[in-house]
């Protein structure tokens, strides 16, 4: 690690505190710049990553929104920054609890996004993120739920540092800032170059889609835990496939098992990589189902659930287009229990067609 830069925000604060401790005790060999805002946290990493060192930051909710401009900049500048984002609600009234609207509002920035269900997955995803980011020269955001993950404890296997060092060898930037061959970074691109620059950014996301499964295979070989672009659970013969992202996945597993025990052919697809969209992978898994139901702990106001909408788009050009049932649940950290998920699945099993509007599950009247 070279440079860390971060600004505290609930519920990310524990990361800032822990990293401060690790830097102070020299357990982590890194410079920690304690900046005055999230905008500056990300901007400091422009300077650091351009200079050719490994970087990290973490934020949440409003902090991520404040970074928005710099997220576009860092992706466009092709800086392999890794960031943890604790998904937190954003709105005109305060709420500090879990919701994915913050990171989904950054989906057009060029940042790779990976959603996690557990603390173990989060730790592993951060390690893999460096390998991916430095290969394709794009920044990677690891997203996970406020409080359900950020403020709960879980037994986690912390991989051996030497093994991790071997898995992600020292970072050598393809183009580095040096004085023998002074270069200009992030300069003015007029109409004759900008369009092509944006195209190369899009191409890099395709490379990320191709390369990430390879990273996951290698990680599995070294550390024994398997990951992918998505994770599937009992989808092979499923008539109804439930799609989730983040911590709701865990409670959904319970509901799926319960309904399976009752003879219902239901399965689960957990979203992991959301940008770039693994279209082929989604089509392969979901194309076999009779119905697909997506639970969104987020909302694009005026549209509905973001994941549902994007899955609909991904399947549109496919031959197999099961109807998509869009469910919005758990906004602002409202608890979504296994019984809720079971209720949602029963709703889908008993309705032939999805409604035009998303189903707002558990809404108080």
């Amino acid at each position: 690690m070279g440079v860390i830069s971060a600004y505290p925000i609930t519920p990310q604060t524990t990361i800032v505190e822990e990293l401060s401790e690790m830097c102070a005790s020299k357990d982590l060999d890194a410079r920690f710049i304690k900046v005055e805002s999230e905008h500056s946290a990300m901007a400091a990493l422009i300077g650091a990553a351009t200079t050719g060192v490994r970087t990290f930051t973490a934020t949440s909710g409003n902090g991520l929104l404040l970074m928005h401009e710099v997220l576009h900049w860092t992706a466009g500048a092709r800086l392999p920054i890794v960031m943890a984002n604790v998904n937190r609600a954003v709105s005109g009234v305060w709420n500090i609890w879990a919701e994915q609207t913050d990171s989904l509002a950054q989906r057009d920035t060029g940042w790779i996004q990976i959603y996690c269900e557990s603390s173990q997955e989060l730790l592993d995803a951060v390690i893999m993120a460096y390998k991916l980011a430095e290969k394709v020269m794009l920044p990677v955001m690891i997203a996970y739920d406020a409080f359900f993950l950020s403020h709960t404890t879980e037994i986690v296997d912390i991989p051996d540092a030497d093994l991790v060092d071997r898995f992600i060898p020292p970072y050598v930037p393809p183009v580095s800032l040096n004085f023998d061959e002074p270069r200009m970074f992030g300069g003015f691109f007029a109409t004759d170059y900008f369009y092509e620059h944006r195209y190369t950014l899009q191409q890099a996301t395709h490379e990320a889609l191709r390369y990430y499964p390879e990273v996951c295979r290698e990680f599995h070989g070294v550390f024994g835990r398997a990951y992918g672009l998505v994770e599937t659970c009992q989808t092979e013969d499923a008539e109804v496939i439930l799609v989730t992202a983040g911590a709701i996945t865990s409670v959904s597993r319970i509901a799926i098992d319960k309904l399976r025990a009752k003879g219902e052919r239901v399965g689960l697809m957990k979203l992991r990589m959301f940008r770039p969209i693994p279209v082929d992978c989604w089509r392969d898994v979901l194309g076999k189902a009779r119905k697909v139901v997506v639970i969104d702990r987020n909302m694009s106001v005026g549209l509905g659930g973001v994941f549902a909408s994007e899955i609909r788009s991904a399947l549109y050009a496919s031959d197999n287009r099961p109807p998509i049932y869009s469910v919005i649940a758990g906004l602002g950290g409202r608890d979504v229990t296994p019984e809720d998920v079971e209720g949602i699945l029963n709703h889908v099993l008993t309705h032939d067609k999805p409604s035009d509007e998303p189903l707002f599950w558990g809404l108080k009247q």
Partner: protein, 315 residues
Amino acid sequence: MQKMIDIPRQVLVEEELMQPGMTSCQGCAAPISMKIALKALGERTVVVLPACCFAVFVGGYPYSSLKVPIIHCPFETAAVVASGAAAALDVRGEKDVVVMAWAGDGGTFDIGMQALSGAAERNENILFVCYDNEAYMNTGIQRSSATPMGAWTTTTPAGSIKEESKKDIEQIMLAHHISYMATASAAYPDDMFRKFKKARQITGMKFIHLLSACPPGWRIDPANSIQVMRMATQSNVFPIYEVSKLRFSKDNQRFEEDWEYTINVFPERKVSVKAYLKSQGRFGLITDEMIDYTQKKVDRKWNELVQKQNNRISL
């Protein structure tokens, strides 16, 4: 009458780190200032450029007119991008590199203020230079908080010329207890050269405030920009001085918050504030009351500066 003092006449080094091809306006003081700055700082310099005129005329991809690395960055982030680069270079073990943020008055006084204040408070090891042309010139002459009272701009047009005084950026920076603060002007190139040399030797946050004439924005003949900047100093509107932080020493019981003020240029011949203002078309609509007020303010600031230099008073 006192003349310029304590300025050893220097032959600026011959090495040019700024190359031809820059597309600035005629008479723009910013490239002249950069040329002097880089001569003093040398090739192991990283320049951080936020949105400003300089970021455009330094050269569009794939051209650059500077022979040092440049990191472009969002408008409001110059100080913190420089902080990140300085930290990373330190991690890389490149201790002899100086990172210079080079921002206009918008990227310093206004939109850049938060990141600048943060970097100053953390005493980041960077050199922050504001080339102050006293308005948003890159977007076409709109008022900034560095625009002086009585100035016309496209957002303070006839009928509503700027009524507020210019923000005192030098006092704001000194209030952050930074390691070094200086003003300089391309009208006094040897003084400017010496200050950049000095800043390079100092660890911690350095701030240099440059007055930077803008012929289209100031409504002056490009041939006169150095002359007008010299008048700014000769009228005491833009005093040339520097402030060094004195470290605690057992011998003289000074504390770190003690400051050494040095006025580097005393007016050789008195130029009135009115003559300075009237040399520029942008002050064509200024009222007599505004001129009178500005003269009084300038006199008071000058007297305070002389007093601070003589007394070595704290902030």
